[in-house]
């Protein structure tokens, strides 16, 4: 196969912008669909994509992927709400549909194994065993697993404007210092205000 493995992988998952370690010092080649929406907004209802029940499953899954230890975990960072809001973007409709289908399956699986306990109340080991089964490819689960892991990392290490990475604590965990808004620091403008390409009047 002549084209890069990483991109082939992205092609298969083809749901999120699983950005390849791409060339030219760049960082995003295979993206998925559409524009971003859902900048955090206090007026949004508490949940926009998931029911309370599915949200509980989602939260527990994210927390297992990125558990709290001496550093904050997924729930501390606001990852589940990030995912809930992000999936309201029409461009991520196929991801939303997939998660709405698979998360209840994950929960049913837990209830079967634990004589009735929902996923979010199962023991950590049981939760992990269920996730591991998805990771290793049950029912096309690799794609569920890859997507939920990517979304969790987006929610933990993405721009806090979307409601995840709360307080920039995800950035702090990995030692990343975000760039300040440069345009505010500009002292020169190449085009006069109002001109095409220039600053607004």
């Amino acid at each position: 196969m002549p084209l890069t493995t990483r991109r082939t992988f992205c092609g298969q998952v083809a749901l999120l912008g699983l950005g390849g370690y791409a060339g030219l010092a760049t960082a995003c080649r295979s993206r998925v669909t559409g524009t971003t929406v859902a900048v955090s907004d206090a007026s949004l209802p508490a949940l926009v994509t998931f029911t309370r029940e599915t949200f509980a499953t989602l939260s527990a899954v994210c927390e297992r992927l990125l558990p709290r230890d001496e550093d904050p975990g997924a729930i501390d960072l606001g990852v589940p709400s990030y995912i809930d809001r992000m999936l309201a973007s029409p461009d991520l409709a196929s991801v939303r549909a997939m998660l709405l289908r698979v998360l209840p399956m994950v929960d049913r699986e837990a209830r079967k194994r634990t004589a009735g306990k929902p996923y979010h109340e199962a023991l950590a080991d049981e939760q992990d065993a269920i996730l591991a089964a998805w990771q290793h490819g049950r029912d096309g689960g690799q794609s569920f697993f890859a997507v939920i892991l990517s979304l969790t990392l987006e929610g933990a290490f993405g721009d806090p404007r979307y409601g995840g990475n709360s307080g920039g604590r995800g950035f702090a965990m990995i030692g990343f210092t975000p760039d300040p808004p440069l345009s505010k620091m500009t002292h020169l403008h190449r085009s006069p205000p109002g001109a095409p390409g220039g600053p607004p009047k």
């Binding site: 998925v32 890859a146 990343f176 620091m185 220039g198």
Partner: protein
């Protein structure tokens, strides 16, 4: 809606389109640029990884406008986002890394240097390096390129210095210099399309954490949006029409193009008449537009009497590797705590191999860079993928160790990819875009020699990384192709039977049609080609302006 005729319509505002528009407008010729993408003001760019890198900010979504891709003619083509560069005013120059090397003289004469290469359609260019040199020099000045003249023995012949001094570099540059000196290699500061000082009213680079893959909100990156487009507009002879997608280039009874049919920002079909049309939509999309423009005169697509439109597609050969340096095993290593973002070193010792290695005579360029600091991407990289992905406490531990406790230095290589008859663009027979137009189908059939060049360069890159004493190193990609670096679908040449364009990049069979993006390049070269696209486009624009002045259009 019909419009007043323009002298020239340029389709596409990126590396291939803007220099032509600038040269024409400067000569007083009325130009309209039709550009499919939106126009952004500088301050609308930000460094939000989710918005810029992980959704379809720069390129169409796979649902609206896919490409399709197959490996060989017998494979089934599948939908992909690969092969898009950027759909925005300024094209791919807006969010590029801006590694801005010139081609070397050998790149213009590959056939006569290599001789016949079986199973490859290698040809010489109809111009020489010396023909392009003045345009390289001028375009470097017009847009602002920084670098160091005479920094290494393998440099291409230049008639003058760079217009700007090199960008400030991370302390790792000195380490690379030391390692290379011990190996007998000759690293040099990477030339960049980023202004290192205030330049023509533009602010100098502020050395962000994130640059490549992002637009620059202060115009320090030398995109056409920051340089040539405002300069062309300032003449009063150039109008940029964003969100206008060309859909067809119709011809009159005599076989001359009449103008361009496009879908405007409101989604309405419109027509812009013109005396001359210049197409610069990227090698893949230019081929698509010409193939979509069928007429009684050109039943197989505009300018395609030879059947060569879309053929001889080339990308740049690409391999990559990385090395991890843990802080605890390198307590005295200064660069590990240097926050300067650019490693700024390249190597061209193996551009041309005097002694062929495994059949390879021409390799290319190695560039070193600090790992891209995109936080989500870095976390994904540390997590890994598939069955091997790490998660839970193991992932958190790994994140702390690798992101906080270590730094990664990478290399990337650009090698010749030999053109083959089996690598081309045509119209997909089934898949259509959201508006019902057939999409471009990309068929790839790699030449067996490509792997040798990429692998040889990868081994050299890794050798240098290993000489720096990392805790671990690996080659992450042996033999890939970088599909944002395209060329070849409308070769220029002297013979209408073997090329689509003449030496001036005018269609052999359509006297008022030009193509000025990477499509003209018959071979890929051993560097990323954008500076060459721009220099050539300036040459085309200057030639076309002269033709106008002489009343020959």
């Amino acid at each position: 809606m019909a419009r007043d005729p323009a002298d020239v319509v340029v389709v596409g505002s990126g590396a291939g389109g803007a220099p032509v528009a600038y040269a024409l407008a400067e000569a007083g010729i009325q130009v309209v640029i039709l550009e499919k993408g939106r126009r952004y003001r500088d301050e609308e760019f930000d460094h939000d990884e989710i918005r810029m890198c992980r959704r379809s900010f720069f390129t169409p979504s796979i649902a609206d406008e896919p490409h399709t891709l197959r490996s060989g003619e017998n494979a089934k083509a599948t939908r992909t986002t690969a092969g898009w560069v950027s759909t925005i005013v300024g094209g791919g120059t807006v969010h590029m890394a801006g590694y801005f090397y010139r081609f070397h003289p050998v790149d213009f004469a590959l056939r006569s240097t290599l001789g016949h290469v079986p199973k490859a359609s290698v040809v010489d260019w109809p111009i020489r390096y010396d023909d392009l040199e003045p345009f390289y020099a001028r375009i470097e000045r017009e847009i602002g390129v920084s670098g160091v003249w005479r920094a290494h023995p393998f440099e291409e012949p230049r008639t003058g210095d760079y217009p700007l001094p090199p960008l400030a570099e991370n302390a790792v540059a000195r380490e690379i210099d030391r390692a290379c000196a011990a190996l007998g290699y000759h690293p040099f500061p990477t030339p960049r399309a980023i202004v290192s000082r205030e330049y023509r009213g533009r602010q100098p680079c502020m050395f962000c954490a994130l640059c490549a893959s992002y637009g620059c909100e202060i115009g320090a990156k030398s995109s056409t949006l920051a340089s040539l487009i405002p300069a062309a507009e300032a003449t009063g002879h150039c109008e940029v029409r964003p969100e206008c997608m060309a859909t067809e280039i119709p011809v009159d009874a005599s076989g001359r193009v009449k103008g361009v049919v496009y879908r405007d920002a409101a989604g309405q079909s419109a027509f812009q008449p013109a005396r001359c049309v210049v197409v610069a939509c990227t090698a893949i999309e230019t081929a698509r537009l010409l193939l979509l423009s069928r007429s009684a005169r050109f039943p197989n697509g505009l300018a395609n009497a030879s059947g060569l439109v879309g053929k001889n597609l080339v990308f740049s050969g690409e391999s990559k590797g990385e090395a991890l340096f843990e802080r605890r095993s390198h307590p005295d290593t200064e660069w590990l705590s240097d926050t300067a973002p650019f490693a700024q070193r390249s190597m061209q010792d193996f551009y041309w191999l005097d002694q062929p290695v495994g059949g390879v005579r021409k390799a290319g360029t190695v560039v070193f860079a600090l790992a891209h600091p995109n936080p989500i991407l870095a976390a994904e990289h540390i997590a890994g993928s598939g069955s091997a992905a790490r998660w839970g406490l193991r992932l958190k531990q790994a994140l702390r160790e690798e992101a906080l406790g270590a730094r990664t230095l990478t290399f990337e290589t650009f090698a010749e990819v030999l053109p083959t008859p089996g690598t081309y663009v045509d119209l997909d027979p089934e898949v259509k875009d959201r508006w019902g137009m057939p999409v471009a189908r990309i068929t790839v059939d790699r030449h067996p020699l490509d792997a040798g060049a990429a692998g040889f360069l990868a081994a050299r890159g890794r050798e240098v990384l290993d000489a720096l004493g990392p805790d671990a190193s690996r080659i992450t990609q042996e033999d890939g192709q970088d599909m944002v670096l395209q060329g070849g679908t409308c070769r220029f040449g002297r013979d209408p039977a073997t090329s689509v364009l003449d030496v001036d990049c005018r269609a052999h069979t359509v006297p008022n049609l030009y193509v000025s993006d990477s499509s003209f390049m018959p071979t890929s070269g051993g560097v990323p080609g954008t500076l060459t696209i721009m220099a050539n486009a300036l040459r085309v624009g200057v030639g076309l302006a002269a033709r106008f002045k002489a009343g020959r259009i």
